[in-house]
């Protein structure tokens, strides 16, 4: 089911948290709301679920305006961060709960069949008799997912579903949730502060900051062409390095500390002596390119498959490099490594990408 937020506004105690937000999630698409905590992503999710009331604008499920419908009548499935399983019910009762409440009466056999079906999809058939307290975190997560899906909701809403899992389970559940979403073809929204989750699980990612969506698009687009410094800095791990300096004529960039670099070809036309900041992602330093930078290695972090380096190219100016694992460079070494100029990102004084 297509979801459309039209000029959605939410205030708490009169303070606007979200002002005039617009976005569309196409039928069967999975969208991530990604941003730091407090950016309003969960608020948006709960407003779509009907837990919070919108203070302005419209929320449309398909062609249906649900803005003023209570959550009971929206037919959405929600997975909460702490799973919110009902502790006094068995797994089977938990999953079947949405089918046994509300105005429609269903007979027991029908409920049992639906529960079994969804349990098979989620791979938890053998847990049905247990109580939530007897489940591991990952199993609780699956039960919560089954409960959210059993009513065949129009939209699935996931609020930080992986935040409470350990690293290994997180990896497993990441692909599980995506598999189930693709198999059911359900429209889904994932709220997360983890860029890897957002980028690996979703068709599109919306980056939020302070109640606004800064950029919305496929993960790679956001990574390659961020609209501003915030998006560029938020995506990427290890993060991008920003260098503050000025244009120096003939398409070059200069820092007060003495570092000079050529600008990418598309920015060579910039007037001289304009304050800009240059963003260099670690994978674009030390792996190939037309320009070069020389500096002293100040920090080495081997990560198995890759190695991270911090290079001080000028006093106080540290570039970061990530390269396939190598052990020939140590702290204190002077290195001269290439910079991939074509992939450099430049931002003006307001932070907008040039």
């Amino acid at each position: 089911m297509r979801l459309h937020l039209d000029n959605f506004t939410k205030r708490f105690d009169g303070n606007p948290v979200i002002e005039g937000m617009n976005f569309v999630v196409e039928d069967g698409e999975m969208l991530a709301l990604l941003g730091p905590s407090g950016c309003g992503k969960s608020t948006t999710l709960f407003a779509i679920a009907g837990i919070y009331r919108a203070d302005g604008g419209r929320i449309l499920f398909g062609d249906r305006d649900v803005t003023n419908l209570p959550s009971q009548r929206r037919n959405v499935g929600v997975v909460f961060q702490n799973y919110a399983l009902y502790p006094h019910m068995s797994v089977e009762e938990n999953i079947g709960f949405p089918l046994t409440v509300g105005r429609i009466r269903r007979d027991k056999a029908e409920v049992a069949r639906a529960v079994r079906e969804i349990a098979e999809l989620i791979h938890i058939e053998e847990l049905l008799a247990r109580k939530p307290a007897q489940l591991s975190g990952g199993q609780q997560q699956r039960v919560a997912l089954a409960r959210a899906l059993v009513r065949r909701p129009g939209i699935l809403l996931l609020d930080e579903p992986l935040a409470n899992l350990d690293a290994r389970l997180r990896l497993e559940m990441r692909s599980e949730i995506r598999r189930i979403q693709l198999e059911t073809g359900i429209t889904a929204i994932l709220v997360t502060h983890d860029q890897v989750e957002a980028m690996s699980m979703c068709d599109r990612v919306a980056i939020m900051e302070r109640g606004r969506i800064l950029q919305i698009g496929p993960p790679t687009e956001l990574y390659r062409a961020p609209v501003n410094r915030f998006v560029a800095g938020f995506l990427g791990n290890p993060p991008i390095v920003f260098l503050e300096g000025r244009t120096a004529g003939q398409g070059s960039f200069a820092m007060d500390q003495g570092l000079h670099l050529p600008l990418p070809p598309r920015l060579r036309g910039l007037p001289a002596d304009r304050p800009i900041s240059l963003g260099i992602r670690p994978e674009h330093f030390g792996t190939g390119g037309t320009a070069q930078a020389t500096g002293r290695v100040t920090f080495v972090e081997p990560q198995g498959r890759e190695t991270l380096f911090d290079i001080e190219t000028a006093p106080g100016v540290i570039l970061r490099s990530v390269q396939p694992a190598r052990e020939d460079v140590g702290v204190g070494d002077i290195v001269t490594w290439p910079i991939d100029v074509d992939n450099l990102l430049a931002f003006d004084a307001e932070g907008t990408r040039l």
């Binding site: 909460f80 709960f97 009513r151």
Partner: protein, 426 residues
């Protein structure tokens, strides 16, 4: 580390129960006193024993007053500090004489030249020579036995023992209290009253109303909770006497409710004491409003510990408000409901002050409950003979019933299941 706690526990928790238990098996009352008793045979004692088959002649012998002037009597008189001249007179003129009545002996004494002027002194002097066992206070059993041996020389040993037992004025150990409770018809009536009082107050107010209010307030805006919580606390913090007076103003003839009833044409009378039904309603309400605040506060706290997400989840799942209350909230309130039920059952079982100050168990004895009856028996009644022993026995029954009920409640609410730790932490 544990010993101070154990000492406190022993002093303030076990000691009262132990003492109550001990007293319950005695016939202690105002008449016996709480200390050691003496040995006194009164005409009443004899009459009672005669009903149980004491031979007529023995009773007559014990009743008879005998005064004998002999060496032992004279020595006793000197020892008692009597006027020496008077003693000498008695010794000289009356030695060897015996009198059958106090009047004759006192007249004889008064005629002596050195007799004291005060009639009291003469009576006291006469008593020293008295050999009657009747109405005399003996400190020990042996003294009385000696006196009895003189009074009824041919009385059988068993008869004497019977007399000695019956003459003891102090408390003795007995199971009589329990026999009385088990046999008198009043017991059943008071038990039923208590059962009705406790269960009705508990169900309607202490749990029912409290739960209803807590859940209603839970769904209202936050600020209201504080205001309402305080309002419902008022009966609890009002001094009991004042609260009782307020209820009198409220329900007595000329009070608020009867006047209101008169205006709308309903029967108007003293609702507190005027009829059995209204007396019960008054009694249950006034106790209930005190108890409801406790449940309200506890339930409100418990409600706030249910994670908000669970309630959101149930709403998203399609549950109506009622379904949310019945299927998500109430099952998770089992422990607080158990606690309030248990605690308030004990409170109500033991409560009597509110009833004493209002209906006082009336009209008649229709609203008399166990605790009130125990209080009246042991500590407050018009006849003046406070039966501590019987009252303790009644109190002991309350303790036992309360203890048994808590066990039943724990069973009923599957307490062991509530306290088991989850096998996986999360």
């Amino acid at each position: 580390m544990l010993s101070p706690a154990l000492i406190l526990l022993a002093c303030f928790y076990f000691a009262p129960v132990a003492l109550t238990t001990a007293f319950a098996f005695t016939d202690m009352s105002t008449a016996t006193g709480i200390g050691t008793g003496a040995y006194v045979i009164t005409p009443n004692t004899l009459r009672g024993l005669q009903d149980e088959g004491l031979p007529e002649d023995v009773a007559a012998q014990v009743m008879a007053e005998t005064y004998i002037v002999d060496r032992a009597g004279l020595d006793a008189a000197v020892a008692a500090g009597m006027d020496e001249g008077f003693v000498a007179d008695i010794s000289a003129r009356l030695t060897g004489r015996a009198y059958d009545s106090a009047r004759d002996f006192i007249r004889a004494l008064r005629e002596l030249p050195n007799a004291p002027r005060s009639p009291r002194a003469i009576t006291a002097a006469a008593e020293i020579f008295g050999r009657s066992a009747l109405n005399r206070r003996f400190e020990t059993r042996e003294e009385l036995a000696e006196a009895l041996a003189i009074a009824t020389p041919e009385g059988a040993i068993e008869t004497r023992e019977q007399l000695l037992d019956a003459s003891y004025t102090g408390a003795v150990f007995t199971t009589e209290n329990f026999r009385r409770l088990a046999t008198q018809r009043e017991t059943g009536r008071v038990l039923l009253n208590t059962l009705f009082y406790v269960s009705a107050t508990l169900a309607i107010f202490n749990v029912g109303l409290a739960l209803f209010l807590a859940i209603t307030l839970f769904y209202l805006p936050k600020g209201l909770m504080g205001v309402f919580g305080t309002l419902w606390l008022l009966p609890r913090i009002t001094p009991l006497v004042l609260y009782a007076i307020l209820w009198k103003w409220f329900t007595w003839e000329g009070g608020f409710l009867p006047i209101l009833a008169e205006q709308v044409g309903l029967p108007s009378f003293n609702y507190m004491k005027g009829s059995v039904v209204t007396a019960w309603i008054t009694m249950i309400s006034l106790n209930g409003f005190i108890g409801a605040s406790f449940g309200l506060i506890l339930f409100s706290g418990a409600l706030r510990t249910i994670p908000m997400q669970q309630l959101w989840a149930s709403e998203v799942d399609g549950a109506t408000r009622w379904q949310q209350v019945r299927r998500i909230i109430l099952p998770q309130m089992r422990w607080p409901i158990l606690f309030v039920t248990t605690y308030q059952t004990m409170s109500l079982l033991a409560s009597y002050a509110e009833i004493w100050l209002t209906t006082n168990g009336g009209p008649g004895r229709t609203t008399t409950v166990w605790a009130l009856e125990a209080f009246r028996t042991a500590l407050f009644n018009y006849s003046g003979n406070l039966e501590y022993g019987l009252g303790s026995a009644m109190a002991l029954m309350l303790v036992i019933v309360g203890f048994a009920l808590s066990l039943v409640y724990l069973r009923l609410f599957r307490f062991d299941e509530l306290v088991t730790r989850p096998r996986i932490e999360f």
